[in-house]
Amino acid sequence: MQRARRVPGWILGLLAASLAAQLAWHAALPAARQAKEGLPPAPRAAVLRLASFGENAAAARLVMLYLQSFEMRGLDYGRLVGWLRAAAALDPLSAYPLFAAARVFAETPDPMASRVALEFVYEEFTRDPDRRWPWLAHAALLAKHRLKDLPLARRYAAAIDRQTRSSDVPLWAKQMEIFILEDMNELEAARIMLGGLLERGEIRDPNELRFLQQRLKELDQRVKSGVK
């Protein structure tokens, strides 16, 4: 076997020094965070399709992870909805854009922003009502309890009743208008809805289950402490 040649000391020194300088340089940089400029305008779905070389399902989910990394406070909801629309167009069978819109972005304390997210859910629901009703059901609850906008909540509830055709849609979802008009608090309503979804095995994803249970717990604490 051929013996390795001895490397001159100055080369070893250069290697060690440059490696140390690289580590020091990286340590001095600020931690990687989302751009201060905020969310850029959304590209068209066709452009994303081209950029992902046809890997639409992967691209749609990466768009959602990208959106998740932004702080909700100060987020431009007009742009956000553009991105969500592009993700939904890239993979129309993915539940992620509607889930994020209804369960994350619509729950912002800013009522105007929340309305923008809820309208996105409604708009997307009309494209595939039998698959997307659970998110509009949640949107109806948010409209009633967070926005205190009963006509909006009734509009969403009525849309579920009138536009869904599948026998898989449960009766409680079809009769949501009554549910909306009943004098129950948000926690009670959310419990009924989540209980129904869990009972039917609609929520199988462990991350989603954990997230929803956490939300229910937070809601419970908020109701107990009397915070709106």
Binding site: S94, D205, N207
Partner: protein, 254 residues
């Protein structure tokens, strides 16, 4: 039969050349990436894993095959091994087809290895169809890289031409959709010309966006007719490339 011996030698060379280790590293990186991304997903964590791993493994497989084919072919040319082989009592078509068969077999083995981890995340039937489609896709990539390596006889141009053809094949449908422009499309002569040019280029490319689709793993297998049409398109284009390669190899003076 001598062509099959040549094919076996090509597979043996790939096995000894470190290709299996590179494939294993790609699988490990894909699984690690998917595990990380699934932790940050709020929902559809399994779907996210499938989508990312499948896209990653497909890209890795194509790169490995293209780089392997181009580098081994050009090494054969540079080391004068090709000239030595041509001195054997074996016709040029048999030599070319033997090499191609060996490279396609390497692609098939790679496709089987890359489909295996997906079987843990997606239905086995869908994974089998995805893996079979990937094997055909890699055979097409091997045919492309072999053709360009033999024709251009330089590694960078050969790999660049293979990557260009492959990426264009995967994005041509999206380009056509963009060029269509919808209701606001430019109706001028220049606009029509641009659309016509994209359409003409599409005629010369394989429809790679229709094969090895991640959606099959997520939402169910395609109809038999759609699958057969997609694979049939690949096979047809593969035959065109092999025929072009044979033509070039026959006329080449070595």
């Amino acid at each position: 039969m001598p062509a099959s011996i040549l094919a076996r030698l090509v597979v043996l060379e790939a096995r000894r050349g470190g290709l299996p280790w590179l494939a294993a590293a790609c699988i490990a990186a894909g699984v690690a990436l998917a595990a990380f991304l699934s932790q940050v997903a709020l929902t559809e964590s399994r779907e996210l894993q499938v989508a990312i791993v499948a896209a990653w493994l497909r890209a890795c497989a194509v790169f490995l095959v293209a780089a392997h084919v181009a580098s081994r072919t050009l090494r054969e040319v540079d080391d004068k091994a090709l000239e030595l082989m041509l001195a054997l009592p074996l016709g040029r078509p048999a030599q070319y087809l033997g090499r191609f068969a060996g490279l396609a077999a390497c692609g098939a083995l790679l496709a089987a290895a890359f489909a295996a981890p997906l079987a843990l995340l997606a239905p086995p039937g869908a994974v089998a169809l995805w893996g079979l489609s990937l094997a055909f896709e890699l055979a097409l990539v091997a045919a492309t890289a072999l053709f360009f390596a033999m024709t251009l006889v330089q590694p960078v141009p050969a790999i660049a031409a293979t990557a260009g053809l492959y990426l264009l094949g995967r994005s041509i449908a999206a380009l056509q959709a963009l060029a269509g422009g919808g209701p606001l499309a430019d109706a001028s002569f220049a606009g029509e010309l641009a659309r016509g040019a994209v359409g003409a280029v599409a005629f010369l490319l394989p429809r790679l966006d229709a094969v090895t689709r991640t959606e099959w793993l997520l939402y169910g297998v395609p109809s038999a007719a759609a699958y057969a049409a997609a694979i049939g398109g690949l096979l047809l284009y593969g035959v065109v490339l092999v025929a072009a390669g044979l033509f070039d190899f026959e006329r080449k003076s070595l």
